[in-house]
């Protein structure tokens, strides 16, 4: 299964090489920049889909497509160890697809200084591909930071309202989160005594000799709050809506859609399997804070008047379900979380993209000043309705989020049955804000402000340049919605290999 290992390496290297090429071809004009950058986004997507097709859990073992390289930090047990398992693969594919959509959308945007904008975005893409393909914990962290730094720069330079404040706040919050998780990872490395940052080695070592409970306790605490800040766990979430509100749309798509999943992925793939006792210690914390995400943030989302802020808050709210699913510690719950991460990544990226398209037409993000857009832009409204329905996990075949939340709910019910009431309240809340947003933006009478702005800006429906990235996201979303098996089969297989998740299976 290691035949295609070089494709994994290329998926990381190609965007980074393309990033520098984009700067270089800048002098040859806009088309050259667009071709180079879109190639840099398209190739990893093709590679990832190809690897997805070839992944066979029956013969994959622990990891498939494995490659290992020494970069010179062997003194602290670090090597560039890449590979994919059933947990990483769906996210790897999702990252490449969202990246392609974000790249296509960015390449035809009117951003000032386009080559530099695409440079940042491509570096980010390279880091994202690396995060989900890293077996080595150091590089796992390293690639995350590689993807994170361009976000700050993009928010600060190309951002919207309050960009300076938002960039600063994001930087400080996320640096704190990253530092805490780094110390947590170092704690695992030092205390395990395995003298390696390699996840496979660490797992084998800790299966033989688990860490002392007190060590697991504080190491898990560090990782929980470190990753928690990155995933916007309540009450450490305040950077997220602000940052997403200010971020340029492609950066928001990649960050909210993909990069934010790093923390959850880290909990599922690293923290819980290595520190199972730690999770039990912190279980009630996770449950209460996650309820804060679902209920408190849910109510705050309902109160939002700004479309982009609302999407930002709703993505924070959905993270609550993910934390509950992880706390349930079963193959069903955690599998549901991974599936939701994929589905949510696709839908939230789509929503951010569509909201920017709406903004181009209405010149505002205020939902009160919108209305009646569906008459002028029926295709856009169809896309938006579809994405919003998926986001609030309306039951229906083809909407992947529904399957994900369904399995999380079942797992929660098995875990602590009373939690299901809070979760259901969350569903109602999200239905309210979701449907109300659709109604406000697209239906009803055209608002006065909208009529005013149409005098200056003619409103047209989605162009093909806008439709292609949206279609890519929607097709993949429907594909995994209709055929969840393509994701869940290998996912279950990998999760079942983790003793932590398998043993609590009822």
């Amino acid at each position: 299964m290691n035949d295609f290992a070089s494709l994994v390496q290329l998926s990381i290297a190609v965007p980074i090489i393309a990033a520098f090429l984009t700067l270089y071809v800048g002098k040859w004009g806009r088309p050259a920049v667009q071709i180079v950058s879109v190639t840099g986004f398209a190739l990893p997507a093709i590679f990832a889909l190809f690897l997805w097709g070839f992944y066979d859990p029956a013969i994959a073992g622990d990891y498939a497509f494995v490659s290992k390289m020494d970069t010179g930090l062997s003194i602290i047990g670090v090597s560039l160890h890449l590979g994919l398992n059933g947990i990483g693969l769906p996210l790897f594919v999702m990252a490449s697809v969202v990246g392609l959509a974000a790249g296509l959308f960015a390449a035809q945007s009117k951003a000032e200084n386009l080559p530099r904008y695409l440079f940042c975005l491509l570096i980010m893409q390279g880091g994202l591909m690396g995060v989900f393909a890293s077996i080595d914990l150091f590089f796992f962290y390293f690639f995350h930071e590689l993807a994170l730094i361009p976000t700050f720069i993009m928010v600060g330079i190309w951002g919207g309202r309050d960009r300076n404040y938002a960039a600063m706040k994001m930087t400080i919050y996320l640096t704190l989160g990253a530092m805490l998780s780094l110390v947590g990872l170092i704690a695992i490395y030092v205390k395990s005594g395995a003298d390696s940052f390699d996840l496979i080695t660490l797992k084998a070592h800790l299966a033989e000799a688990p860490l002392a409970e007190s060590v697991q306790d504080y190491a898990f605490g560090l990782l929980l709050f470190g990753f928690g800040i990155l995933v916007s766990l309540w009450p450490l979430h305040t950077w997220a809506p602000l940052g997403y509100g200010a971020a340029p749309s492609s950066a928001a798509m990649l960050h909210a859609g993909v990069l934010k999943k790093f923390g959850l992925y880290g909990l599922i793939q690293v923290a819980v399997p290595l520190l199972p006792d730690g999770l039990k210690q912190w279980e009630s914390w996770i449950v209460w804070l996650a309820l804060g995400n679902i209920l408190i943030i849910g109510l705050i989302t309902m109160a939002q008047r700004d479309l982009k802020q609302m999407i930002g808050y709703s993505s924070v709210m959905h993270m609550g379900y993910a934390f509950l699913g992880i706390a349930a510690m079963s193959v069903l719950g955690v599998g549901g979380v991974v599936f939701m991460m994929v589905a949510h990544g696709l839908t939230v990226a789509l929503l951010f993209m569509l909201s920017t398209m709406i903004h181009h037409r209405t010149q505002t993000f205020e939902m009160d000043e919108m209305g009646g857009l569906s008459k002028k832009a029926p295709v856009l409204s169809a896309f938006f309705v579809c994405a919003m329905m998926a986001s609030i996990a309306l039951p229906g075949p083809g909407l992947a989020n529904f399957w994900a939340e369904l399995s999380i709910f079942i797992a929660i019910y098995q875990f602590k049955s009373w939690l299901i009431y809070a979760a259901v309240a969350g569903i109602v809340i999200s239905a309210i804000y979701g449907l109300r947003a659709i109604a406000n933006v697209f239906f009803g009478e055209e608002s006065e402000e909208f009529v005013e702005s149409q005098k200056e800006f003619a409103v047209s429906d989605m162009t093909w340049a806008e439709r292609v990235p949206a279609l890519i996201l929607i097709i993949v979303m429907f594909f995994i919605g209709f055929f969840p098996k393509t994701v869940t089969e290998s996912l279950n297989d990998s999760l079942a290999k983790e003793a932590v998740y398998a043993q609590t299976e009822q």
Binding site: G72, L73, I76, G156, M168, L180
Partner: protein, 506 residues
Amino acid sequence: MSTEYFQKIAETNVWGAIAPELALGILALALLAMEVILPKVAHGLIPRLAILGQLIILGVMLTAGSSGLGYTGEAFGGMLSFSETGQLFRAFFLGTSIFVSYLGMVSLEKKTLPQVEYFHILLVITGALMLLAQANHFVMLFVALETATVGFYILVSYFRDKAVSLEAGLKYLIMGALSSSILLFGIVLLYGAGSNMALAGGSADPLNFGNLQNFLAANPSDMLGLLGMLLVISGIAFKIGVFPFQIWIPDVYQGAPIPTTALLAIASKGAGFAMLLNLTTVFSPLSEWLYPLLSVLAALTILFGNFAALTQRNVKRLIGLSGVSHAGFLLIGVIAAEKVDWATNAILFYLFAYLLASAAVFSVLAHLGKEDDSELTLDDLGDLAKRNGFLGLALAVGIGSLAGIPPLAGFIGKLLIFVAAFKAELYGLLGVAVIGVVVSIYYYFGIIKAAFFEVWRYQDEDEETPEEPVPGESLQLLGKLAILVAVVGTIVLGFYQSPLGSWLAG
């Protein structure tokens, strides 16, 4: 002193081992001679020749092998001791000197002051620091340190037509003299204690590091010895800028010419740590006093440096205070070196990363600096990225590395120090370090913000704004090359340390 003593010294003189220092001395004299001999039009060549000469010395030294040019152990009657660490410090000082020479060329070109003396004194300081790093005897240590310090007095007040530069020179003179006298007092106390033949381990030559260590091991609770250690550490703390001996740093850094500021920031700090690493071995019998003392100093230094830098708008003061916090991080490494062998190498890696990053930052400042560079504030960095993209990139890489952002060398340096600290179980210091890193993000980010993010400025449309000169317009091939070395070195060391891998492993 008996004749035998001098005979022993004469027998152990290995002049070949200090060839680099001798060559630097000859080069320094040659520069002065050239000023007399060469016609006035060719005087511009002299700084270039100085750089060329240093590059040749560095090249020969690096190819000659990793330990003392083939010599190891003590020489010159125990005055010097050659080791691999010492050799690396030699390369560090020489590398610093080459960058400072380049900065001197840039800065002095804007002035009508005599030029050659600057390079002459710089070379003498460098030679002295190289000997200092290999000193094995307090007499050697003090003489080398004073040679360097006296040179620093001159270089700090080199812009003698500027009141701030003279003021800085005076402040440095007073503070430097004070610290030297404290150091000397400590040395005298150690001499007095160690030469007491009535005590076990007393010797006729107690200032030799080996002899002193034996004496302290035999008398670990000797009051004079303890007091001597305290005073010696205090004297060195002045040089490094460790709290509470950091008071001179902001004023002197601000007033000194930029090349001198760079030399103070990099070489003076490096020299302090070279001494400290040697002396922790000497004082190892007193470790129950030494390490708690250093731990408190490290924590206070990190906190003070970072919090004091928060509100700074003057770039040179800001860099100075951030340097204080770096000294704190390095001190953590020194403390960790007690239990973790390779921590010494981590310190060296950190220092080299710091050298490269500082070189990039100071190069940019040297090009930005107008007639009076002591008043360079963050506002002067405004839109640097637009005015000169190359310098903007160099500044971003340099600042990013100082902030410890992956994938830059500074991050690897911090990571190694963190891992070493965790292995040495310095949890409290690690917590302080994490706080320090997060706080530091704020002011480093402020620099990036000033240089890259657009700031709204009042502009009257009718009024023509005066054309601002493009900084670094005169950037020539040599200048570009120097900056490029620093930038590329910083990036490459961030993710590929293989050439250093075996060395790091110790």
